[in-house]
C-alpha cells in the first residue's frame, strides 16, 4: 500500500510479485509452507514411531502394494510439472495456455485422489482401519492429511480458474494462482516423503 506507487507502469516479468500485495501474499505463503513442514514432520514422527504397532492387523510388509504407489507417484510428479508449466504460461499472459495446463494438473490430481481412495478401501477390506491399531491411526492420519491437502488444492485451483477466466490474468489474480501452484508443489514434496518413508521403508522394514 505505502509502496503501491512502486508497482511500475511497465509490464513486469513476474506478475505475482509485481504489486505490494502480491509480494506480501507470496512471502506469507512461503511462511505458511514452513509451518506446514513442521505439521507434516510431527505426523511423520508419530507414524514412524507407531508403524510397527499393528497388533493383529496386517503389517507394512504385508499391506503395501508398490505398483499402485508407483503409479500414484508418477501422477503427482507429473502434475507438479504441469503446474509449473501453467505458471510459465501465466507469466506470458497466455490465459488459454495457462488454463489448459491447470486443467491437466487437476485431472492428474483427481486421478491421484481416486487411486488413494481405492487404496484406502482396499486396506480397510484387509482389516487395516483407522481404529484397528496405532499403526492404522497414524497411517491414515499422515496419508489422509496429505489426501485432504490434495482435495483442498483441487477445489482451490478450480475457484482460481473461474476467477482467472472472469477477470483475466491481472496483478490481482496472478499472485493467487502462483501461490496455489506453490501449494501444489509442496503437496508433491510431502508425497515424496510419504512414498519414501511410508511405502518404501515399509517394504524394507
Amino acid at each position: 500500500m505505502a509502496n503501491q506507487t512502486n508497482s511500475s507502469t511497465e509490464m513486469p516479468n513476474h506478475l505475482e510479485t509485481a504489486t505490494f500485495d502480491g509480494k506480501n501474499k507470496v512471502l506469507g505463503f512461503w511462511l505458511f509452507l514452513g509451518a506446514e513442514t513442521v505439521l507434516f514432520a510431527c505426523l511423520f514422527g508419530t507414524y514412524l514411531a507407531l508403524r510397527n504397532q499393528s497388533l493383529e492387523g496386517p503389517t507394512t510388509q504385508e499391506l503395501f502394494d508398490l505398483k499402485l504407489v508407483a503409479l500414484a507417484t508418477a501422477l503427482l510428479l507429473t502434475s507438479s510439472l504441469t503446474s509449473v508449466l501453467a505458471m510459465i504460461k501465466m507469466n506470458e499472459r497466455n490465459l488459454k495456455g495457462m488454463v489448459t495446463w491447470l486443467v491437466i494438473t487437476l485431472v492428474l490430481g483427481l486421478a491421484f485422489l481416486v487411486l488413494e481412495i481405492y487404496e484406502f478401501l482396499h486396506y480397510i477390506h484387509e482389516g487395516h482401519t483407522f481404529m484397528s491399531s496405532a499403526f492404522g491411526s497414524s497411517f491414515y492420519a499422515l496419508v489422509g492429511t496429505h489426501g485432504a491437502h490434495v482435495t483442498f488444492g483441487i477445489i482451490w485451483i478450480i475457484t482460481l480458474i473461474a476467477q482467472a477466466i472472469r477477470r483475466g490474468i491481472t496483478t490481482e489474480t496472478a499472485p493467487k494462482l502462483f501461490v496455489s501452484s506453490l501449494y501444489w508443489h509442496f503437496i508433491d514434496v510431502v508425497w515424496v516423503f510419504i512414498f519414501t518413508l511410508v511405502y518404501l521403508l515399509g517394504k524394507v522394514g
Partner: protein, 98 residues
Amino acid sequence: MAKENNQAISRKPESAVKHILSFVLMIAFTAAAFYIVVSDVVPSGWVIPLLLVFAAIQVFLQLFTFMHLDQKGTAFYTFFMIAGIFIAVISAVGILLM
C-alpha cells in the same frame, strides 16, 4: 523495497526446458528408489540412507526449480523454509527416538 521491485522487473522470462529436465531427474530418482527396494542391488544397510538421500535430492529439485527458489529476491523464503525443515527434522527425530 524499491530495490527489490526492480529485481522483480529485471528477471528474465523462464523457459520450460529447465523444468522438464528437473522433472526427468525426479522421475529417475523415484524409479531408482523403487528399484533399490524391490531388488537386492544395494546392501541392506545402505538402503535406508540411500532412500533418504534420493528424497532429499527431489525436495531440493522441487524447491529450487518448480518453486523458483533459484531466483533472486527469495532469501527470506529460503531462510524460513530451511528453518522450517530444520525444526521439522529435529521434531520428527525427537518423536521417533522416544
